[in-house]
């Protein structure tokens, strides 16, 4: 009998750790090869880990919710034969996936906090500690000491002022409910933080007349063949993107900023921002350029349903080169969508409303829609973004062009 250590494999894309979200086995279980062991969550995807061996579970590592580093032991088995760990779990037993330490040391040395600029708020260590505990930025607190030094009484007065009762007679509800941000919500939080921190966004919003498109769409939907899916607006946008993007290779791209490399793609892989019961997920329709409008519609339905019911594979949740984020029927005049890092652009169609507009010299009722978009200003200049959106607009306003070669 030997011991087999099942380690968290390298799931790729620079994932350094994964969260254990569910377990399927307990200590003492006899496990067959390929039997599910546990679910771990990485960047947006929940991945089921199956057993590579037959054996008896003798140890489980990490609780639910724990972050496990890649290469970390998840399950220990007792197996027939030698196993991969011999009698004792040695320190480095041929790890399944060895992670290299970060290869690029940043040249700058950590600057000690000691060289604080001469403008930092003046306060004693106790006052600074108290303020940090209370979550108060001392630069907002008026100091009463020499050179504006903040004494404990100043901090106390600031806190009192913040909590002063209102004069209206209405009482304050001071209840605070704490929720640990874990699982998918934490992934979303990290991803959004990353995108906003790294990418200098700029947004561009344009108005489109979609009367023609809507007429076409309604007509098609009323005369569908049995095998044809109903068309929403998005398949038209997908086909329009396929048509416009070849002229803008820098927009259909992923920017790996740490390597300083922009990967521009021939194929168009469209991320579809999808609201699920647990939060935002972005499944991907791959190679939209090879799909006609019907296939686009089918694939769109397939990947978004997979995302909603949790069956999307890792492959279906990564690799997009541009993202569509439709707020659909919820309305809203415009949005400033957050780019799906490391992409460089995101397109968000807003709600269609009927509005009086001047059309051919007359005030008429037209179906109008805004297109909101955001771009990574490191890669995309304002001029090019505007040209891109103008071309997209032309196609959306005159949808026949989408289908002309």
């Amino acid at each position: 009998m030997g011991r087999f250590l099942f380690r968290l494999p390298d799931i790729g894309e620079g994932v350094a750790e994964a969260e254990i979200v569910a377990r399927a086995v307990k200590i003492g279980d006899h496990v067959k090869e390929d039997q599910p062991l546990l679910d771990v969550m990485t960047d947006k995807a929940t991945v089921e880990m199956t057993s590579p061996v037959h054996g008896i579970v003798v140890a489980l590592h990490g609780e639910i919710g724990a972050m496990m580093p890649v290469g970390g032991v998840l399950v220990e088995f007792e197996v027939e034969g030698a196993g991969n760990a011999g009698e004792m779990p040695t320190a480095v037993a041929e790890p399944v996936a060895q992670v290299q330490p970060a290869p690029k040391p940043e040249p700058e040395v950590v600057k000690p906090a000691a060289t604080s600029p001469a403008s930092a708020p003046l306060a004693s260590p106790f006052t600074r500690h108290r303020a940090y505990e209370l979550g108060i930025d001392l630069s907002h607190v008026q100091g009463s000491g020499p050179a504006g030094r903040i004494v404990p009484a100043d901090l106390e007065a600031y806190v009192q002022r913040q909590n002063a009762p209102a004069v209206s007679g209405l009482s304050r509800n001071t209840a605070v409910h704490d929720t640990r941000i874990v699982g998918l919500r934490r992934k979303i939080a990290e991803k959004m933080q990353e995108a906003k921190r790294r990418i200098p966004h700029f947004s561009y919003i344009e108005e489109c007349d979609v009367t023609e498109l809507e007429a076409l769409r309604q007509d098609v939907n009323q005369n569908l063949h049995a095998h044809q899916p109903k068309l929403t607006l998005l398949p038209f946008f997908m086909r329009a993107l396929v048509k416009v993007l070849p002229e803008f290779p820098n927009i259909n791209a992923r920017y790996e900023d740490e390597d300083g490399v922009l990967h521009s793609f021939g194929g168009v892989h469209i991320g579809i921002a999808t609201q699920t019961a647990n939060g935002l997920i972005v499944p991907v329709v791959r190679h939209a350029e090879a799909l006609n409008i019907w296939d686009c519609a089918r694939e769109l339905t397939r990947v978004t349903s997979a995302a909603r019911n949790g069956t999307a594979t890792r492959d279906e949740l990564s690799g997009s080169t541009i993202t569509l984020s439709s707020l659909g029927a919820l309305g809203g005049v415009a949005a400033t969508p957050v780019i799906n890092h490391p992409e460089v652009a995101i397109i968000g169609p807003n709600k269609i409303i009927e509005r009086p507009v001047v059309h051919n010299g007359q005030i008429t009722i037209r179906k109008m829609m805004n297109i909101s978009s955001s771009f990574d200003h490191r890669i995309v200049d304002g001029h090019d973004a505007a040209r891109f959106i103008q071309q997209l607009k032309r196609l959306i306003e005159h949808p026949a062009i989408i289908f002309m070669d």
């Binding site: 580093p69 290469g71 040695t90 700058e108 500690h129 000491g145």
Partner: protein
Amino acid sequence: MTETIKTKVLVIGGGPGGYVAAIRAGQLGLETVLVEAGRLGGTCLIRGCIPSKALIHAASHFATMVETARESRFGIQLETPPTLDFAQTIGWKDGIVDRLSGGVAGLLKRAKVRVIEGWAQFSDAKNCTVTTPSGPLTISAEHVILATGAQPVELPFLPFGGAVISSTEALALQEVPKHLAIVGAGYIGLELGTAFAKLGAKVTIVEAKDQILPLYDDKLVAPVQRWLEQHDVALHLGAKALGHDEGCLNIETREGETIALPADKILVTVGRAPNTFGWGLEQMNLRMSGPFVAVDERCATSTRNVWAIGDLVGEPMLAHKASAQGEMVAEIIAGQRRRFAPVAIPAVCFTEPEIVSVGLSPGDVPAGVEIMIGQFPLQANGRALSMDAGDGFVRVVAQKSDHRILGIQAVGAHISEFSGEFATLLEMGAVLEDVRGIIHAHPTQSEAIFEASLKALGHAIHI
């Protein structure tokens, strides 16, 4: 089957960072295990700060008596020169080290920290195997605090071994070398060089830069340089060490001339490098910052619940910084909201005379900030003169707009003891007028702090 320990907190390294973290974690009721391969106390206690200070102290005693035998001082004359049994000096130093290391063990025990003697090897960020004298055991921890410290940097053309030694061996020599060549005039090289010069060695110091103690400004360094020159310590600045032959160190001088310096021992003190190899750091997938482990202001690494402190995370590589970070990390693990944001980390240098620097020197002040400087010479301080130690000064650097003190530096005998007052003034956010309002005892050298502040305000009394 190997024993497996599951613990809340695992501390790697028993130096001033690690042991303080472990004691604090224990005080806070966290189940804590500390792994140390060598002796408790780390570089600081075993082969750094403490043993070097003991050696410096003994050397000063000896030097005073040698001088007194040569010529009468204060009317005191020794008929015969003193003799030195250096093995006994080292024995006395070892006694202090033993006492302090034992003390650390006692403190850890009282804090209910389990100490494991052995070398830890990580298999991932939270699990390691420790090779102990009684066999291997594995440790699985919820939180890992890395405090592996640093070690002397080796020069490729002067590898350690034989006559070429690091500070560790210099503190354990059994006799005083006749000729000691030192490569690197940082604080470690100068402290040891000064001590060995006082013990009778002929000391030569080789430094690649144009100044000794390149981290300090020339005004602070000048009294130290004067002492070295007066005591026949040869300095080769702007010079490069090339390699060594039997009994000598070959250097290229600033002028490009190659010369051989006589040397029984060659002490290489060109810096210290963090200990990042040999214990499985590469299995932990931590983000690095240059040679150091990258951490944020809470000493958190890029992997959750893995913390790193002390020399491993960057400059300044000082014991008191490591201890402060260790204490903080333990409190964060216990659920407190803390961060490492000192106004200043004091630095002291036990040369002859001593140097202390806290906060900004005039040259460090950011552009655009107008400053006022008050410098008071110890020549005008009664206590300094009564100790026959007039070479030195206290210098206060303040911001002109609001008189906030940005930094204080001093050089003089026993001046390192001022680091506490200097740091207090900076951390409490003192302005020059605060120091004016604090009565400093007479006759002490601390009056110089008061006078330097008055000088900055334009009305010093005693100059």
